[in-house]
């Protein structure tokens, strides 16, 4: 699978021309893009000439993690190294954006956003929402269309289709909850605190919130049959009104004055489907484009232009960069891929993560993308690459890994966006990573793992170390790494090579996007 000659060739190519390929390529891309201008403006003069672009192969790895949710395979790395330097990055990006894996990855990210903070959901709903989203992304449907479907869906539907969002947040007449989540996800603003009182920081009243929530006052979701059926009837009732809560009302059961639906002060025509009207108002609202652009930007750069990503102002200005991103999204008719493409081709995204003390300031100014942990599905898919199994085939597990191990993994790594704050690595994750079956199998010297193939292809320890660094990190080992690796494999038995790869898989480099 991995030929020594090829590895040698690409190694030399990289050594000889560490930066040339990408100093040429961006020039053709950047000049055309107002978004890239906005990024440069945002970074400001002090960060202008800050960084050399990352090594092309490292960049391929980062983009593969961000767009496909996995590290590149050995074959992809080698093909990339052999391609003409001036065009290969852009071509690789376009190939990734067209791959079904990308739609799948994007669907996973958005499923997490849509269903976070949900009532307990059957796993089928989560899986089904993911599959439905993946189909929308694969068909290049605009995210405005997808949003309409998610909010306005009506009729007899499978629970695992577009009804997932309403099912997650709007069951049991929880119109305030689903309204709050709608604003948070699709408008990037937190208005649900106005459920009980006027917004403390913004000019947003309790009445306005309940007028927003009144769009959901006629929503009801009923199972078609009792039991295990996943068929639902999502109904827009003919009656039903939003009401203000009184002091003695239990939560979600307001009984006060009737409030007619309105959208930030504009009365909604309430003769038709109120949710449909709301969805139309949302997708036509600049807040929507900003919210979706901000999240997409954060998915790639590690931070939103405005943080937290659901902390956009209800009214008022946002940084010009966010408006430039929103414009890009609108110009592309809400095709997320067009926006993602513009970002990954920007010099900011391509800047190397390794640098000096200014790193933090540059990350804050988006002159550089932040190092961030991979989402759980990307960790799993990257492990699959290391284990030598097809990451696209969910049925293919590394030999010896049981479904149980996967379930446990998902449980331990399930990012709880409900907390809204990334708590960073935790002990159960570290224990599973270091002692669990999944990583052990991916580090195994047997079978068709990266290690097993490298051991078969090379006899010389240094060549083996080079090949491992290339396939797992997309770079050459630094001197001290080589020294440490030589010490680790001193016995030159399978176990010590497994120890080396195990340490590599446990590193920040493997578990983050850089």
């Amino acid at each position: 699978m991995l030929s020594l000659a090829l590895l040698g060739a690409c190694g030399t190519a990289r050594d000889r021309e560490p930066a040339r390929g990408h100093t040429e390529a961006p020039a053709t891309v950047v000049a055309m893009s107002p978004l890239h201008d906005a990024l440069a403006q945002h970074a400001g003069a002090q960060h202008q000439q800050a960084l050399a672009a990352a090594d092309d192969a490292l960049l391929l790895r980062r983009a593969s993690l961000d767009l496909l949710g996995r590290i590149p395979t050995a074959a992809e790395l080698d093909a990339f190294a052999a391609a003409p330097a001036s065009t290969r990055y852009q071509q690789a990006i376009d190939r990734m954006l067209a791959a079904p894996e990308h739609a799948d990855h994007l669907a996973q990210l958005w499923t997490d956003v849509l269903l976070a903070r949900a009532l307990k959901l059957p796993p089928a709903v989560e899986r089904g929402t993911h599959d439905w989203l993946a189909a929308q992304f694969a068909d290049d449907r605009g995210f405005d269309q997808t949003t309409r479907d998610l909010l306005a869906v009506t009729g007899e539907v499978e629970a695992d289709g577009p009804a997932g969002f309403l099912l997650a947040h709007g069951r049991r007449r929880r119109s305030a909850a689903v309204a709050g989540e709608t604003a948070r996800v699709f408008l990037g603003t937190q208005i649900q605190c106005a459920q009980c009182h006027d917004h403390p920081d913004a000019n947003y009243s309790q009445r306005e919130f309940h007028a927003f929530a009144a769009h959901f006052a006629r929503l009801s979701i009923r199972p078609l049959e009792r039991g295990a059926s996943t068929r639902l009837r999502v109904v827009e009732n003919r009656r039903g009104q939003g009401r203000l809560p009184t002091a003695s009302d239990p939560p979600d059961r307001p009984s006060g004055e009737i409030v007619m639906p309105s959208y930030f002060g504009t009365a909604t025509d309430e003769r038709g489907n109120r949710r449909e009207a709301l969805a139309e108002a949302i997708v036509a609202d600049r807040r929507f484009a900003r919210a979706i652009a901000n999240r997409s930007f954060a998915q790639l750069m590690g931070r939103g232009v405005v943080e937290p990503v659901d902390g956009l102002p209800i009214d008022g200005a946002v940084p010009p960069l966010l408006d430039a991103l929103a414009d890009t999204l609108i110009a592309g008719e809400f095709d997320l891929d067009a926006l993602l493409r513009a970002i990954v081709l920007s010099p900011a995204y391509r800047a190397s993560g390794t640098a000096d003390d200014g790193a933090e300031a540059r990350v804050a100014a988006f002159a550089q993308a932040a190092v961030r942990p991979l989402p759980d599905h990307a960790l799993l898919r990257s492990l699959a690459v290391a284990a030598g199994v097809d990451p696209d085939d969910p049925a293919s597990l590394p030999p010896g890994v049981r479904r149980r191990d996967l379930r446990e993994f998902r449980f331990v790594f399930d990012d709880d966006e409900g907390m809204e704050v990334d708590e960073g690595p935790n002990l159960p994750q570290a224990l599973l990573w270091q002692h669990g079956e999944l990583v052990a199998r991916a580090a195994s010297a047997r079978g068709d793992t990266v290690l097993a193939r490298v051991l078969r292809a090379h006899d010389d320890p240094d060549a083996r170390i080079d090949a491992l660094w290339w396939q797992l990190f997309a770079r050459s080992p630094a001197d001290r790494e080589r020294t440490a690796a030589r010490a680790t494999v001193q016995r030159d038995d399978a176990a010590s090579w497994e120890d080396l790869v195990h340490a590599m898989l446990c590193s920040s480099e493997f578990t983050t996007n850089h």
Partner: protein, 412 residues
Amino acid sequence: MTVTRRSFLRTGLGAAALASIGGSAGASTPTAVAAPPALACVLLYLHGGASQFETFDPKPGRSTGGPTTAIDTRVPGLRFAAALPQLAARADRLTLLRTVTSKEGNHDRARYLMHTGHAPQGGVAHPSLGALVSALHPDAPLVGAVTIGPPVPGPGLLGPRHAALPIRDPGRPIRNLQAPAGVDARRSAARADMLATLQQQFAQGRAHELVDAHGEVMARARALAAAPDKRAFDLSSEPAGTRARYGDGRFGSGCLLARRLLDADVPFVEVGLGGWDTHEDGFSRTDALGRELDTGMSALLDDLAASGRLQQTLVVCMGDFGRTPVINGREGRDHHPQCANVVLAGAGLRAAVVGETDADGRNIAERPIAIESVFRTLAQCLGIDADEVRMAPSGRPITTFEPADPIAEILA
């Protein structure tokens, strides 16, 4: 800052009794040595919000009282709900705050408030009590904090190194606590050395907070796996009699596990008891939950007292909020942040009842206690600097706890 009519203070007696219990366990307790050891804390958290009417402030015979009956306690004039006979027998060791008020009537927000002392604010993650205690014990042998039961707010801006080790089910061993067969100490060390080099290389020139945290948590996991004391996590060696004394539900097992972990010098353990959100059919449910709380908490107090640890351990029992005086149409009570009970024990606190509700429990009659005061009191007991200012990543200065007066009458 008045002490209510029915309050009792056992200044001298309480301290003496506790001291004698502590002394009986071993004359060589390290209290005589230099600085007193920083205190440990166990938080018994009642998820969903326990009804004060069905626990520590029953109002039998009143329109708000429901079918709940009350029983006498060891303290004359003080009555608990009938579900708490064992705690009633230990009421003279408890500090009961009957009038704790807050403004958060939503579960998520209240749970955050009751773990951090702050109402949630966008963009700031306040550290939880467990993380604050963990930070005071950087050399804790196993881990700085453990939470047993449902998930709770985490370390926030104190960072991953002070995240509690979560245990969902105390009866099941922690997964992956053992290196796989074939990976001996030598191989573990080789992996660790290699990983350290990789981490150094990767951290170079990066905004490396995340990288450092990753390396540190990996190292802590390895240390935990290698610690002989990790047996503390395994309940299977406890005799059947002890397990029965704590109760055989998850909460009872959690309390027993908490005792074992405190014995192994884990400085903070939280045990959650879920199911208190009794909007419907409340009275049979609160009775069962009360008995679970009664059994587990009583056994824990007894064992901590017997080993002498109670003096160096603050026991806190609280939940999301209280519940409404009005019984709704479904035989339940709804959320009522205006008045909740908080029970404290140990840590040399004076046993007392602070605050009083009116005859129907509709309003606070005397001494409302702001939740901020409760956290200031916990801080003073535990040695947490309540005024310490930390910088949130957004650059906003965050004070540990909101300004308030601690509850002076219960602090020794």
